[in-house]
């Protein structure tokens, strides 16, 4: 079943020759490109594991999203001031990354002069690679004064990750394009070769796909509803029962139901909490 997603520019229906080449799905990565993010909150570990986007933009991909600029909070170490730049390592407890603050005028780096080893700062900068090492080209280095900012930063990293894991797993349905995101794994493109049914553990954020475009968790829900004994139940199955039987949180059940409903595989019966599988498919 081909479900087009708003993120997929390379469907045959898109453009018709009138779209500008930038939007026209010029690379496979456009399936998951949204507009370039602003400042993405990230841990150094996430940065170290990010894959690189293949085109000249030379940006990185974190959680399936093109990322050029990041914001990181951590401690300064090994500060080295020169006439052209100030360099230091930023250690955020998940790893260390080198940061460079280029100096145009002496006044620019007044903020950096006072930095001692172990001082917490927030660095906003552009991710780049130099001699196969990842670096941050810092355009802003700011002292952290209220340490709730440290907690907040990590929570933002988590939030960004969760938001994009959820969105990209929905955007991938029916997609025939290979994924560039490092944390998703599926063994074949959706159409064509059949492969085994991979069951993802319910605690695992990286979903695995079987061969008809349904995430394995959605399939679990569908299979339960498709059981003959459940098909026979006129009133349908309550989402709470699904949650109990499949031992999954209600939110996850609801997401799956929402998707299955959109695909025309299930429908709500007596009310918005009871669902049945569509028969005769």
């Amino acid at each position: 079943m081909f479900s087009s997603s708003q993120f997929e520019d390379s469907s045959p229906l898109a453009g018709g020759g009138f779209m500008s080449s930038q939007l026209g799905g010029s690379t496979p990565s456009s399936a998951r490109i949204r507009d370039m993010q602003g400042l993405v909150p990230a841990t150094v570990k996430q940065i170290s594991e990010a894959s690189q986007s293949g085109d000249e933009k030379s940006s990185f991909i974190i959680d399936g999203v093109d990322v050029a600029n990041v914001t990181v909070v951590g401690m300064v170490f090994n500060k080295n001031s020169r006439s052209s730049d100030v360099r230091f390592h930023l250690d955020d407890g998940t790893g260390r990354i080198e940061c460079i603050r280029w100096v145009t005028e002496r006044l620019d780096t007044g903020d950096l002069d006072a930095l001692e080893d172990g001082t917490y700062v927030r660095v906003n900068g552009h991710l780049q690679t130099f001699q196969s090492k990842r670096q941050l080209n810092a355009f802003s280095v700011r002292l952290v004064t209220n340490f709730d900012e440290v907690t907040c930063h990590y929570l933002e990293c988590i939030h960004f990750h969760l938001q994009n894991s959820k969105v990209q797993s929905k955007a991938d349905e029916g997609s025939v394009l290979a994924s560039q995101a490092p944390d998703l794994s599926f063994s074949t493109p959706v159409r064509g070769a059949s492969n085994g049914h991979h069951l993802a553990s319910t605690n695992d954020f990286s979903m695995q796909y079987n061969d008809d475009g349904l995430k394995s968790f959605d399939k679990l829900v569908l299979n339960y509803l498709q059981q003959p004994s459940n098909i026979d139940r006129e009133m349908g199955i309550h989402v709470d029962e699904l949650s109990q039987q499949l031992k999954s949180p209600l939110e996850k059940i609801k997401d799956a139901i929402e998707f299955l409903e959109r695909e025309g595989l299930v429908y709500s019966s007596i009310d918005d909490y009871h669902y049945k599988a569509v028969e005769g498919l």
Partner: protein
């Protein structure tokens, strides 16, 4: 790029999962002597942190070091986190960072 020695976010209850490894936590100082500090973790446990604390110490201090056992840390780095700090926020972060989202940190 060096990811060789990440520090796990811990509170009192999580400390035992990382004994012998590098950890980080924030405690509310209850007593401080030369050579060790006693404090309350963000989940209310009593912890002992050994090392040389900075002077003066604020109410909240973050320590990064090696977990010696389930209630004590040998600290390498101390950072004063001030007198007002949202401990419950930090506690939630510890739980998230040790759960499904561990891969973002360690």
């Amino acid at each position: 790029m060096d990811t060789s020695s990440p520090a796990a976010f811990v509170n009192g209850g999580l400390l035992r999962m990382h004994v012998g490894r590098k950890v980080r936590t924030v405690i509310q100082v209850t007593r401080s002597d030369a050579g060790s500090v006693m404090g309350k973790s963000t989940d209310g446990c009593q912890l002992v942190v050994r090392g040389s604390p900075p002077a003066p110490l604020t109410s909240y201090v973050e320590v990064i070091g090696v977990a010696e056992n389930e209630s004590s840390i040998r600290a390498e780095l101390w950072t004063n986190f001030g007198d007002s700090f949202d401990a419950s926020n930090y506690d939630q972060l510890c739980q998230l960072a040790n759960g499904e989202l561990k891969h973002l940190f360690l």
